[in-house]
């Protein structure tokens, strides 16, 4: 992955990531399970089937043809246009996220093949400040779509985001408009855009690029919606059903095309891409 070569830029200590313990306890069923088995199983508990978070790299690996990944992310990182500081300065927050994830930002753009079909793919990483969309994510998504146009390939976006990056203020809000505008170009070029919504796809990401897929697929267990439970309960104190913002809720109310198990996503993508690639 090209941009990680000079990883001293991010002050990332990759050694930190090496995890010595071989076992983990599943938060769902409580069983002790082999970490390696979990990882080989798409981060699904081999005992109870619970899905754990996938990092962007793990997600990419679970979806693409082995070894087909080339990182084509733009070499950019967040700046601090507002000189934002909450409990800590924004640049510090970014650095910490970079150290934790070994990523430059909350999204990776890759050139990959899926079941032999070349596509451009963007994958968010929730660990990086909740996968929030700031200027870098917006730019990377647009860059990905433009690469798809240049290469005449489909574009796939795997969302995992709580919404906008508050620390970039209005700049982050406006990424919603920016990504929507460039998505329009993809449509004009008759190139397919498959949006994959995972846990969670909410707020500004759900209310922009993620909802604009030609086909929208939710990973089983995804959380999909605009306003969080807490916001609604704080604002209007309304009772919410237990299936609020679940994959089933989104399917029932017509927002998404399909709900697919994590382990079947790759095959699913191959199937749906097949229709569009033939049609070119």
């Amino acid at each position: 992955m090209a941009i990680f070569k000079d990883r001293h830029y991010f002050r990332v200590n990759l050694e930190k990531k090496t995890d010595e313990s071989l076992w983990m306890k599943c938060k769902s069923c409580g069983e002790l399970v082999f970490k390696r088995r979990v990882r080989e199983n798409n981060n699904i508990c081999p005992h109870c089937g619970e899905y754990f978070f996938l990092t962007a790299q793990e997600r990419i690996e679970s979806l693409i043809d082995k070894g087909s990944f080339t990182d084509i992310s733009k070499p950019i990182v967040a700046s601090d246009p507002l000189l934002f500081q909450d409990t800590k300065p924004y640049p510090q927050r970014i650095e910490e996220a970079q150290e934790k994830t070994a990523l430059a930002s909350a999204i990776i753009i890759g050139s990959v093949t899926i079941v032999g079909i070349p596509v451009v793919m963007g994958v968010m990483d929730f660990r990086f400040i909740g996968g929030s969309m700031g200027a870098v994510m917006g730019e990377q998504i647009c860059h990905g779509m433009e690469e798809a146009i240049r290469r005449r390939q489909p574009f796939i976006l795997v969302s995992s985001s709580g919404g906008a990056r508050i620390q970039e203020g209005l700049f982050s809000l406006l990424q919603m408009a920016k990504t929507a505008a460039v998505r329009g170009r993809l449509a004009e070029e008759h190139l397919p855009f498959i949006s994959i919504m995972t846990y969670p796809t909410t707020g500004g990401v759900q209310a922009s690029i993620a909802s604009l897929g030609d086909i929208i697929i939710a990973e089983k267990g995804a959380m999909i919606g605009f306003a969080g439970r807490r916001v609604i309960q704080n604002t209007i104190a309304e009772e919410l059903p237990s299936n609020y913002q679940t994959d089933a809720f989104a399917l029932e109310h017509g927002f998404i095309d399909r709900v697919v198990n994590r382990e079947d996503l790759r095959e699913e993508l191959g199937k749906v891409l097949g229709f569009f690639v033939e049609a070119q």
């Binding site: 203020g169 408009a177 605009f226």
Partner: protein, 317 residues
């Protein structure tokens, strides 16, 4: 520093003195003039360097002019259109035809309520999916008949609630962003009060984005940011300052094109004057964007949004 209420009291007193001056033949004109001067000085002191939080309060002031006030004063012949043709008619986002001087335009206007009853009907100015989809229908109408589109933005945000979610409010906002980015007519958006997040942006993608001087425009409310980032809702003043959500700051950041001046103390101090500034600005910008050939206009709009956002390249670090 004196606060707004004290100054209002002083103004009332001066008015009483002026009545006294008239009715009883007592000449108080020198004293009154002196007091008025004093009042003006105090007011300038109070308002000249409004803190960001004070602007938030003005933006949300219950007497602040709302869309319908400007529609009455800036436009003529407002002809409201109702309904999204799908599921309902949202009263928090009005759409319609109107004339700006003699030119027909399509208006998209978010509207808060003044009374409890009106606020109930208008969901406190929070737009629902039915409103965004009505706006989208109005955009299509504008496109078919080459009417420019003018948005008046004033909402705490999109309406959060079960019904909104059931009607895919996120999808409705997203579709509007896409539609406005490609709308084949000139478009102008003005934040006249609160520009609340995606709920505002959903009618705010335009060739020109203007703000009234004391309007705010933010990715999240100060209270929301305080709750999420500081875990204390009460730290909204800090959040306000950090978010840089006032018109002057957003002009500095070059994300809005122009700040339309308000009277000292805010638009509600003289709504006619504010309306007339708004009208002047709208006419000027509309003339400008109308002069640009459509193809160029669309390319410029695309470029505007394509290039939005600041980041560093790795080599810069």
């Amino acid at each position: 520093m004196s606060d707004e209420r004290t100054l209002d009291l002083l103004e009332a007193k001066i008015k009483e003195l002026r009545e006294l001056d008239k009715t009883d033949g007592i000449n108080l004109s020198t004293e009154i003039a002196r007091l008025e001067k004093k009042l003006e000085a105090l007011r300038e002191e109070l308002y000249a360097n409004l803190s960001d939080w004070e602007r938030v309060k003005i933006a949300r002031h219950p007497k602040r002019p709302y869309s319908l006030d400007y529609i009455r004063e800036v436009f003529t012949d407002f002809y409201e259109l109702h309904g999204d043709r799908l599921a309902g008619d949202d009263r928090a986002l009005l759409v319609g035809l109107a004339r700006l001087d003699d030119r027909p335009v399509v208006l998209l206007a978010q509207q808060k309520g003044r009374s409890t009853q009106e606020n109930k009907e208008r969901y406190f100015g929070m737009t629902r999916p039915q409103g965004y989809r009505k706006a989208r229908r109005a955009m299509s109408l504008a496109e078919r008949f080459s009417f420019p589109v003018i948005s008046l933005i004033d909402t705490p945000g999109a309406y959060p609630g079960l019904e909104s979610e059931e009607l895919n409010i996120g999808g409705a906002i997203a579709e509007n962003l896409l539609a406005m980015a490609n709308l084949r007519v000139p478009t102008i958006a003005v934040v006249i009060g609160e520009g609340g997040s995606g709920g505002a942006l959903a009618i705010g993608v335009a060739d020109r984005v203007l703000m009234l001087e004391n309007a705010i425009y933010s990715v999240i409310s100060p209270e929301g940011a305080a709750t999420i980032l500081w875990k204390e809702k009460e730290r909204m003043k800090e959040a306000t300052a950090a978010l840089k959500l006032t018109a002057p700051r957003l002009l500095d950041l070059k994300v809005v094109d122009e700040v339309i001046p308000e009277p000292l103390g805010g638009a509600h101090k003289d709504s006619h004057k504010t309306a007339s500034s708004l009208k002047e600005s709208l006419l000027r910008h509309l003339a400008e964007v109308s002069d640009i050939p459509l193809k160029k206009l669309l390319a410029a709009r695309y470029q505007r949004y394509r290039s939005l956002g600041r980041y560093s390249t790795l080599n810069d670090q």
